[in-house]
Symmetry: C2
Subunit: 241 residues, 2 copies
DNA sequence: AAAAATATATATGTACTACATATTAGTAAT
DNA sequence: ATTACTAATATGTAGTACATATATATTTTT
């Protein structure tokens, strides 16, 4: 069920855990300064190398920062910060990539409540302005970029920074093999303009339905990939291993 | 806009990046074996300590595994694996926690399409069985656990492992200060049984609306915390019209 | 006396060396 | 052929030494 297990065999992993425990135990807050490396080494009874590695890992994850002379300080981690490295690694398997694609669709539809609640009249105007620029676009690249800008703006309306960050990452992930078919605009049931009109009403249910119709092509494309050729992909994966 | 920057000052961070580059450059795939630490040190022109730290970070992030004697092998990272550590650190600021709470609501509503598409008749029966056990529950703790079980099952129906993992983590995050008011069941507009009845129809739009109504109390509680009562009022207005 | 420049102390960053440990693989014994 | 043992090997841990940056103290300059 829950496959997120961590087996802490090495001293480093134990140290990492113990440092985190130590933090909560000592009631350290944000910007709190941790003991210096040599002290931590003494406290946990391991060498400085182990402490350094553990701290480095925590730094990689984004829960702390270290500065020369100043020492180690706790920071408030950006929840999706690490995902950048993971996605950039290019090691995500096909299943996970599919999962993330679905997640994006879910969020785009699911965020309706928050978009409607926080959308100002200026937001509407700004969205219209983007659509205007879209209509003037000549190249397909330009057109795609403006499409992204439109949706990114919707995310921004929610004022949910984590959501925007996540979307930013997913956007990068799906930038390459964008399954957008060439005639996607023709097949689109609701245009950006249509979305704006619905958004004007600030009715979440209506906006959800509208967004679902707008994304219809993406659902179709996704379905093609998952539905028919999923087995083939699996087999190709097995060839690698 | 995109606040997910990484400044690679230290050699370790550079090495980490270079190792990842080296991986893609050399066309390493899953289960590929990396050069041993001393070799990597020589290739990148840094000491073994630096390489070890870099590898340790990559291991912490979940893109590789190392075993004694065997060496370093690439694995397919679980996208939300690292989040476990971040969440467990207890260092997430209030804004991020609010963001994540909202994200959960978005997903719960946004996943309707996939729940409806993949829900089997046995799934319906299993959900009914959970509801049965809910009705027999005596303690509130038991009741809450079954509530969680019900929703977890809905996530599971999507067969989206990443989604389920993410939900699992969020569940842990919000387990403590669950803003669930005592009389939430009374205020709930649609019960679990109601959800199942709608799910039977396999109509995403209907299920979305039903889920939104079911989660109404959570939206209300969330709104209380955030302050502005914009979300509910807006929605209640819309319900009338 | 206030501001600027310099010096110093300090904690992290990097490197090298040595050895421990586990595990694969090869060898010997049954 | 199977089992038990041995040796080789790559990672894991530890200690030491020094580099580097920077906050703080000190001195110099105005």
């Amino acid at each position: 069920m829950h496959t997120l297990e961590t087996n802490d065999n090495s001293l480093v992993e134990v140290a990492q855990k113990k440092i985190l425990e130590y933090i909560t135990q000592q009631g350290y807050k944000l910007d709190s300064q941790l003991p210096k490396e040599t002290e931590l080494a003494e406290i946990l009874g391991v060498s400085r190398v182990v402490i350094r590695e553990a701290l480095s890992r925590l730094r990689a994850i984004g829960v702390l920062e270290t500065k020369r002379k100043k020492g180690t300080v706790l920071i408030s981690p950006k929840i999706f910060g690490v995902l950048k490295v993971i996605i950039a690694s290019g090691l995500l398997d096909n299943d996970t990539q599919r999962d993330l694609y679905e997640l994006r669709l879910m969020l785009e539809i699911g965020m309706a409540d928050f978009v409607c609640a926080k959308c100002t009249d200026t937001d509407i105007l700004n969205l219209l302005e983007i659509v205007n620029r879209e209509e003037l676009a000549t190249t397909t690249e330009e057109s795609i970029n403006l499409d992204i800008e439109f949706h990114s703006y919707l995310y921004a309306i929610t004022k949910n920074v984590s959501l925007s960050d996540f979307h930013f990452l997913l956007r990068r992930l799906f930038a390459l093999y964008s399954p957008r078919s060439k005639d996607y605009k023709v097949k689109q049931i609701i245009s950006h303009n249509g979305l704006i009109e619905v958004l004007r009403l600030r009715n979440p249910d209506a906006f959800r339905t509208a967004m679902r119709l707008h994304l219809n092509t993406q659902f179709v494309d996704h379905d093609k990939i998952v539905g028919t050729s999923s087995i083939i992909q699996k087999n190709e994966n097995n060839l690698i291993s």
